[in-house]
């Protein structure tokens, strides 16, 4: 009875804390400017189904994709087992779904294989990060917290899966001993290999089984509450983020309506533009100037670095890293969110996304080639952020590299980015 009560309290507390943190993240994302992604819902569901649920883009790199698939399937399917654990915890029952009989045995057996898959994959992931030192998992922006974060996630998953298997093994041994209510249920294709290493005392076995049960479920609840502070949030946000993907051609950049109005007014004196928002900026100086989709992108990023490892600027040693653009946006957004929460409204902290987080050198290294956008397994778009920051630098500050300003001047004066006269434009027709 005490156990049930403790479980209920822990469970409710975990859900409460998680919903608080989730609301904060939702509020932060809503700080962004509007972007309409409510259209073409059938295409959106399909995109989510293929890219998030079906992991389609992960398979651009087969080896990590297969390992990730094990962890992903493990996560999704073992959640069925979580349901049983939660019901058992609340009702004080033991393996309540065991009435399913042979289907139950099949399920438990499948969970065991999946748990083993998760365990092995996470060990290989740890090796890739810390021993094999795969380049994209060891770049500059992954020093310190991001590195620790990644290792915490992997080690937690290893511990949770170990507890799950050990729990099953001790359960099986108790079943074999015919201990109290440990009926003979389930099939344990993986954990039965652990039997020889377990003690023979039923009391100790029972303690191990209970400890693992509690460790596993409390670990899962704690992990749930770790998500909002971690890159691991992608396990949830990958779904909405792919649903709200850009469905247009990648080459299409938005045409700023505020600019359209001003340009129309310039070209046609009879056109009266609608009153403009006096506080609105051209482009983005800070995270609030980006669209909510860019902010959702930032929270969805799991720092895998496929973008950065395919970025032509990064490959050739430039400072730009699309992954860092996303991490900077998320970190600044968290900071702005905390600022608003503390002060009631945003108080100027002398910082901004441009300069404080993302340097001009990074911005101007981008070739807008869309490689980062193409590679992202969850359809994040770092290029949108880069273009918005460039827009701010050019239209609000007139701060572009001198050669870019020359190019602007040439287009304005000659209708070509180079210094050639418009009247000479068709001279090539005079030659054979």
């Amino acid at each position: 009875m005490i156990g049930q009560l403790i479980f209920a309290v822990c469970f409710a507390l975990a859900l409460f804390l998680f919903s608080k943190n989730a609301q904060q993240i939702y509020r932060n994302i809503k700080l962004g400017k509007p972007a309409d992604r409510s259209d073409r819902s059938a295409e959106r569901w399909k995109m989510m189904f293929l890219v998030a649920f079906g992991q389609k883009k992960m398979f651009k790199r087969i080896f990590p994709a297969v390992l990730h698939l094990f962890v992903y399937l493990g996560f999704v399917i073992i959640n069925i087992e979580m349901l049983e654990i939660i019901i058992d915890g609340l009702l004080g029952t033991h393996r309540i779904f065991s009435f399913l009989g042979s289907f139950y045995n099949f399920l438990i057996g499948a969970f065991e294989w999946l748990a083993l898959g998760v365990l092995v994959s996470c060990i290989i992931f740890l090796i890739r990060r810390n021993i094999a030192k795969v380049a994209r998992l060891n770049s500059v922006e992954l020093k310190h917290w991001p590195k620790t974060d990644a290792n915490i996630i992997l080690i937690t998953e290893i511990l949770l899966m170990s507890a799950f298997l050990l729990m099953n093994a001790s359960d099986l041994k108790l079943q074999l001993y015919g201990f109290e209510h440990f009926k003979s249920v389930g099939s344990f294709p993986v954990s039965h290999y652990l039997l020889p290493y377990l003690p023979t005392s039923t009391e100790t076995l029972f303690l191990i089984e209970r400890f693992c049960w509690w460790f596993h479920i409390l670990g899962v609840l704690a992990f749930l509450n770790y998500l909002p502070y971690s890159k691991h949030l992608h396990i949830i946000l990958a779904f909405p983020n792919t649903y709200f993907s850009n469905l247009n051609a990648k080459g299409k950049l938005s045409n700023m309506p505020a600019v359209t109005n001003e340009v129309k007014a310039m070209l046609d004196p009879s056109f009266t533009p609608p009153p403009a928002d006096a506080n609105a900026r051209f482009g983005a100086k800070d995270v609030q100037d980006l669209t909510w989709k860019s902010l959702l992108d930032a929270y969805t990023c799991t720092e895998c670095g496929r973008c950065t490892s395919s970025c032509p600027a990064n490959i050739t040693g430039k400072l730009l890293s699309p992954r860092k653009i996303m991490m900077d946006t998320r970190d600044r957004l968290t900071e702005v969110g905390t600022n608003i929460k503390t002060n009631g409204s945003f108080q100027d902290d002398g910082k901004s996304l441009i300069d404080t987080y993302i340097s001009r050198e990074e911005l101007w290294a981008c070739t807008s080639c869309n490689a980062c956008v193409e590679q992202c397994p969850v359809n994040i778009n770092p290029l949108d952020i880069i273009v918005e920051l460039r827009r701010f630098a050019v239209m609000e500050e007139s701060q572009a590299p001198a050669s870019i300003n020359n190019m602007f001047g040439n287009i304005e004066n000659n209708g070509a980015p180079w210094k050639y006269a418009q009247m000479d434009r068709a001279n090539w027709t005079q030659q054979q």
């Binding site: 651009k60 051609a249 990648k250 080459g251 299409k252 950049l253 045409n255 700023m256 600019v259 359209t260 001003e262 340009v263 129309k264 310039m266 482009g283 032509p312 600027a313 490959i315 050739t316 040693g317 430039k318 400072l319 730009l320 050198e361 101007w364 290294a365 981008c366 070739t367 807008s368 080639c369 869309n370 490689a371 193409e374 273009v387 920051l389 460039r390 827009r391 701010f392 050019v394 239209m395 572009a400 870019i404 020359n406 190019m407 602007f408 287009i411 304005e412 209708g415 070509a416 980015p417 180079w418 050639y420 000479d424 434009r425 068709a426 001279n427 090539w428 027709t429 030659q431 054979q432």
Partner: protein, 286 residues
Amino acid sequence: MVPHGNMRKWIVPTGLNNNSFMMENELKVPTVAELLAKGETPDILFWVGCAGSFDERAQKITRDICRILQHVGLKYAILGTEESCTGDPAKRSGNEFLFQMQAMMNIEVLNGYEIKKIVTACPHCFNTLKNEYPSLGGNYEVIHHTQLIQNLIDEGKLKPADNNVFKGKKITYHDPCYLGRANEVYEAPRKVLESLDAQLIELKRCKSNGLCCGAGGGQMFKEPEPGVKDINIERIEEVIDAQPQVVAAACPFCMTMLKDGVKIKEKEAEIEVLDIAEITARANQL
């Protein structure tokens, strides 16, 4: 003058009168205004682009596209001095004002001439006209010249000569970002190359995984930011690894970057950089 251009006029197929052949192959590029003066309108507008108009290397590609259009008898025209930058480099560099100024002026000209269909020589112009002009009032059917050439081959209007100069040659293709990833045109240029009976090889990073030449997003007009090497060198090293005799391009910016890369690596004797249009013109002996 272009040496091979002159050479071509020497190759006279039997049965053809020398004079008429000369006449046939003489390049005549009409402007929309000229056609209009005769009471005619073009079926397709050839959007030349700034590089195609002013860059010496790109001008050759421009003329080859015209030769192709002329050869198949398409009624086409250019805007000539009425054409102006689409605004792409300005937009990608953050100058939305300048982009929209250019766009609206161009749209006024295009709509004034009631243009319905456009073929471009440059993937950047292609992308901008196709994707970014519609919401500003410019709605046209826009295709890239590689798509047009593929269609002409499919229709049987273009047919590489059986003994064309590319037969059996090792050819690779560099995907321009604004044709490939940006607009998912991967097959048209490849189909054109397939028609040559050449030996096609893919680069390690190709199609959606293609590596940029380094010129997009305004980079064409500035020095690269500090780094360990230039992007076009990274790209040309991959090209060299593939050991082609010809690397095909479909973008004037890529052309410049690849050509410079080949030159820096002193591979000009081994690797020729040619646009899909030039390859087509040569293979069809235009």
